[in-house]
């Protein structure tokens, strides 16, 4: 008896159940009830959530203005590349935009060729400056006249350098250009004692120049630019307009059209936008959500009808794969 009891006890232990593969388990079965309930639940959740996100997206005001063609004078439009590369021509340009309550500005650059581009940087150099020598990742913009370039690499070399000024009713709108980069980038990825050195001194000038007096960690334009985008068409934050704009205000934008997108057929746009809790204007999520919710509801209803109308065929073997074809073998 003792051994029996012991054996019984041994069979209760988790280890025995584990090794004998008889652990207690929950074994859900996709019954029509569950299927209908889950689809109903998804419909009930996703339709309102989709509507909320659509509403958030609709609250966002976004005005997009493409300026890269308009800002090239008529005579030069045949050869935009030589226009943009000619330093002697002033690149300023004025635009009229009629906006409703915009509060921040993105510059959008389209169709960037990313080949060999995204990797051409040296994160260590950005943090440590010239002390860090192994900048081979920065090829082909690694050094100039045997002296290192800080910041090195193609990304930095192609720094976006159009500038914008906003004038409303004759008075300049203040644009806050601070805190446009992520705090961690400023604090830990770009050195406080690293100053631009030997930058854009080569024969090929890419984008903007940097003020060698200001450490990299304060060059927020550069920091924003260095945080590479995922896709070829992207926007970067330029700054925030901290004054409220009123409906039908006309804003004049004086911009310096310096940045060369013509050589690779890219587009440049200026975007003024407000924001919501979900970020910028994008109806996609809302639409998709509502769509998924609606289809879930439809499926739930279809399943419900089927369930009511046709009982599940019990044990009907004619569907079994080996019964479909005549059994041979």
């Amino acid at each position: 008896m003792d051994t029996d009891r012991e054996r019984h006890r041994a069979r209760e232990t988790a280890f025995y159940l584990f090794t004998q593969q008889s652990l207690p388990a929950c074994k859900p079965v996709l019954t029509p009830g569950w299927v209908i309930a889950i689809f109903l639940f998804m419909g009930v959740i996703f339709i309102p959530v989709g509507l909320i996100s659509l509403r958030a997206s609709h609250c966002v005001v976004e005005i997009v203005d493409r300026y890269d063609i308009d800002c090239v004078p008529e005579p030069s439009r045949m050869d935009k590349v030589s226009y943009i590369q000619d330093d002697s021509i002033p690149k300023n340009c004025s635009h009229f935009m009629k906006y409703i309550n915009p509060s921040w500005i993105d510059a959008e650059v389209n169709s960037y060729s990313l080949q060999m581009y995204v990797k051409s940087r040296s994160d260590k150099q950005l943090l440590d400056g010239q002390k860090y020598h192994d900048t081979s990742s920065c090829q082909p913009v690694e050094s100039n006249n045997n002296r290192p370039i800080v910041p090195c690499g193609l990304i930095a070399w192609s720094l976006f350098n159009d500038t914008f000024e906003f004038i409303r009713e004759g008075a300049e709108l203040k644009v806050n250009r601070k805190n446009i980069a992520w705090k961690s980038d400023r604090g830990h990825k770009f050195g406080k004692n690293v100053y631009p050195f030997n930058f854009q001194n080569g024969t090929l000038i890419g984008g903007g120049k940097l003020n060698p007096e200001i450490p990299l960690s304060d060059q927020e334009d550069l920091i924003v630019w260095m945080r590479t985008s995922a896709l070829p068409s992207f926007r970067k934050l330029y700054g925030r307009i901290e004054e409220d704009l009123d409906v039908d205000d006309v804003v004049v934008v004086n911009l310096m059209n310096n940045y060369n997108t013509y050589s690779f057929g890219g587009k440049k746009k200026l975007v003024l936008s407000t924001s919501s809790w979900l970020g910028g204007k994008n109806d996609f999520l809302g639409h998709a959500c509502v769509f998924v919710g609606c289809s879930s509801l439809t499926l739930a209803i279809i399943f419900m009808l089927l369930h009511v109308k046709y009982r599940r065929p019990y044990g009907d073997m004619s569907y079994l794969p080996w019964n479909r074809k005549s059994f041979s073998g």
């Binding site: 509060s103 990313l114 080949q115 896709l231 970020g279 089927l306 019990y314 044990g315």
Partner: protein, 790 residues
């Protein structure tokens, strides 16, 4: 699968055959030691047209158990099936229970004289030698074959104790029906006409104490009934009927008959016999046979015996289950044909009404050719004969299989040698496949291996060989899976096997439960691996395509590296180890489930491709939804836009959720372990992001503080994760809901049954299971079905 009596657990000796255990199409089995325990038990007899013996054979027990009814002809209201505990007889080789003739009660039976002769014959007509234990006077017997020993023991227990043999005499202790005392009887042994496989009988000629000359003969029914005298056929009909019953219950039967000889007759016979024995010509044997033939006629029938070639515990049950599962069982044995056929009956591989195709070359023409010594002619004739028999067998099968007649093929070793020749083996295989059961007797170890190879290569299906002795080693090695029985016959078979088990009956659980599970686990696991790596890899590919193939990965290097290590590995391992579509009980209750493995439905191209397709569309949905949702607009309310690390992080989060939830959706067995690994893996991804992001920027590069600073505070990150994950999984969920509801696979039906609590409804279960029982299969369920049809 632990055999307590011998302390032998099952032992897997190779680890890479698990899934094949779930796909076995043909089992090739040895007989002695595998199906049987090689011990004979005297269990029933029919004397003077009355059937005695209430012992229950393993086969009958299995049938009764199946019916769920108690043993019907149990006397005194003892309506219980004996458990295996009291099956083990107190006396080895004796399992006879009948109070009518035991303990000397036979003297009260109406035909006591016949009973006396019957058991006296059993005690005399044999070649066994008694060994008396000096200490306690117990007698044990040394016999040529175990069934002979069983007879002598039976006679001893019933009061006819054979205790001494000399060159010329046999002495018995016997109960005298008149005085009721035990007396010593001496029989003078005059001649022994020995048993051989062509004569199929054995006789002795003795002179009893009263001086009467008796010829006592026992033999197979096929030769004995024709030798009965006109006046000796009193109980022929009853005896035949009993013998059919016995054969159907899987017993070996022998007919007993005797004859009184006149002195003259004996004189003549003895002369001729001596002459024949003294001849030195090549046909000496024939001469002896002829003489014996002369004397062994005009016999008077006494009755018949039934000896059970003891099957191992649970063998008929196991064979029945395997047959229901659609597995074919071939028996390859070195025994002679009669034995093999008896065992075939015993384990329901053969049954009455099954058309037997017997191929042998013991035809008179070939025998006469053999005598001439012309070996080439013999070979030629044999080959021709075998070919003809195969062709005619095939013709029968194809003609009658339409009316679902079941066939059995029985072939002996000599014919097998020709049938396995290159030009014949394919037609032999075709014939064999057309038969429900195949028995190869008198086959050598090499032939066993050759047959195994023929089946393996010829059908292209998975074969399993099971055996226990050194003569099975070739077969075990040739088959896809070799199962060794770690019995008494040494370790050779076990050493060359892939899996060692202690008893044949464990094969049922090994194949139907563990084989099925393993097959299912491994096929799901491989499909899932395809799925998750395609889902992951294809997002990267799509990202590349959208960035002009810049070779810039969408994800951080460490994310890429650790996807298969941390974020998707444990759930799939847990599935590969623990997943069960249905519990072991249901695997055994619905053996047809095993066909999922044999037909390979869980790892068909269709299934692999659909899983890959699932991976592709998951990747497409994840990539496009994420990149469209995080397109160019601001990512959070500060107006910062989504950079590469944010898109990558979001997509990666979605992938981790999707592949793990996909796993949760596709398994239907959640133990604590499954919960821990699935939810733990997802949780670990967040922990990893925190930990990795907290490392210095020089190490974590573009993942530095991304989660803490950018992803976690942004509602859009969580919102996108929730939405994309559910949207990605919805199509699969819809698919499996439809499949489960309208086109359930067999295991899903069983899940329904379990879920709806119908497993206790015998009618319904029977309905689901009935489909699996085809009239052409073997096993006692099919036997029952066949007898019901008739």
């Amino acid at each position: 699968m632990y055999y307590e009596e011998a302390d032998k657990p099952a032992h897997a000796r190779t680890s890479n055959l698990n899934e094949e255990l779930g796909q076995v199409d043909t089992i090739l089995s040895d007989k002695t030691g595998t199906l049987t325990c090689n011990s004979m038990e005297f269990i029933k007899c029919s004397i003077a047209g009355t059937a005695y013996g209430r012992g229950v054979t393993e086969v009958e027990r299995a049938i009764y158990r199946k019916k769920g009814s108690p043993v019907v002809h149990e006397p005194n209201g003892l309506n219980h099936i004996e458990d295996s505990a009291d099956v083990n007889p107190a006396i080895k080789g004796f399992n006879f229970k009948d109070e009518r003739i035991m303990n000397g009660n036979w003297v009260n039976e109406p035909r006591a004289d016949v009973i006396q002769k019957f058991f006296r014959l059993l005690a005399i007509c044999h070649t066994a030698i008694p060994e008396v234990d000096e200490e306690n006077g117990n007698i044990s017997y040394e016999a040529e074959s175990p069934d002979e020993a069983a007879f002598v023991i039976a006679a001893r227990v019933l009061g006819f104790e054979f205790h001494n043999r000399t060159q010329t005499s046999i002495s018995l202790h016997e109960l005298d029906p008149v005085s009721g005392k035990r007396v010593n009887r001496l029989f003078k042994l005059l001649n022994v006409l020995e048993f051989d496989s062509s004569r199929k009988r054995m006789s002795v000629i003795v002179r009893d104490e009263e001086g009467k000359l008796l010829l006592l003969c026992k033999g197979a029914d096929s030769v004995m009934f024709e030798r009965l005298a006109k006046g000796g056929r009193d109980f022929e009909e009853d005896t035949r009927e009993h013998m059919n019953e016995y054969a159907d219950a899987g017993l070996r039967t022998l007919v007993l008959a005797y004859r009184e000889l006149s002195e003259n007759e004996y004189e003549v016979f003895n002369e001729k016999m001596t002459e024949a024995k003294n001849s030195v010509s090549a046909d000496r044997e024939t001469l002896i046979d002829e003489v014996a033939e002369m004397i062994e006629r005009d016999l008077i029938l006494l009755g018949a015996t039934a000896v059970e070639d003891k099957l191992q515990n649970g063998v008929p049950d196991c064979i029945d289950k395997l047959a229901q599962a659609g597995i074919k069982l071939w028996v390859l044995t070195g025994d002679k044909m009669e034995t093999a056929i008896n065992i075939g009956y015993a384990c329901s591989l053969l049954r009455q009404g099954m058309k037997q195709i017997i191929i042998n070359i013991d035809t008179p023409e070939i025998q006469s050719l053999e005598k001439t010594g012309d070996k080439d002619a013999v070979i030629k004739a044999s080959r021709k004969s075998v070919m003809e028999q195969i062709v005619s067998g095939k013709a029968q099968v194809s003609a009658l299989s339409a009316i679902s007649e079941a066939f059995a093929l029985i072939i002996d070793g000599k014919s097998l040698a020709y049938a396995l020749e290159d030009d014949m083996k394919n037609s032999f295989l075709e014939l064999a496949i057309g038969c429900a059961s195949v028995i190869c007797c008198r086959s050598s170890p090499k032939q066993k291996a050759l047959v195994t190879r023929l089946v393996k290569l010829g059908t292209g299906k998975t074969t399993l060989a099971i055996g226990d002795g050194a003569n099975d080693v070739g077969m075990l090695q040739e088959a896809d899976i070799g199962i060794g029985i770690s019995g008494v016959e040494g370790m050779q078979a076990v050493m060359s096997s892939d899996v060692a088990i202690a008893q044949f009956r464990y094969l049922e659980r090994l194949l139907l439960v563990h084989g099925h599970w393993c097959y299912r686990r491994i096929s799901s696991m491989i499909c899932y691996f395809f799925y998750k790596n395609i889902a992951f890899g294809f997002t990267i590919f799509l990202y590349e395509a959208y960035t002009s193939f810049s070779a810039q990965p969408a994800y951080n290097d460490w994310y890429l590296t650790l996807f298969n290590v941390f974020f998707s590995s444990l759930p799939v391992i847990a599935m590969g180890v623990f997943d069960q579509d249905v519990s072991a009980r249901f695997c055994l209750q619905f053996p047809l489930l095993y066909q999922e493995g044999v037909q390979n439905v869980l790892f068909s191209w269709r299934r692999i491709v659909s899983w890959m397709f699932n991976g592709f569309y998951s990747a497409i949905i994840i990539f496009f939804f994420c990149s469209r949702a995080l397109e160019q607009q601001a990512f959070n309310d500060e107006g910062k836009t989504a950079s590469k690390d944010i898109l990558g992080g979001t997509m990666y989060t979605c992938i981790v959720w999707v592949v793990n939830l996909q796993m949760a959706l596709s398994i239907s067995y959640f133990t604590l372990i499954q919960h821990i690994v699935i939810w733990g893996t997802i949780a670990f991804w967040y922990v990893f992001q925190l930990a990795y992001g907290a490392l210095p920027a020089s190490f974590s590069t573009d993942a530095y503080r991304v989660f803490v600073e950018a992803l976690a505070p942004a509602p859009s990150y969580w919102f996108i994760t929730l939405f994309v994950v559910i949207a990605t999984l919805t199509p699969y969920f819809l698919y499996s809901a439809i499949q489960m509801r309208f086109f359930p696979m067999y295991h899903e039906m069983i899940q329904w049954i379990r879920h709806e609590g119908l497993s206790d409804d015998p009618l319904y279960c029977e309905m689901v299971r009935q489909r699996s029982i085809r009239p052409t299969t073997v096993g006692f369920t099919a036997r029952r079905a066949a007898s019901r049809r008739q």
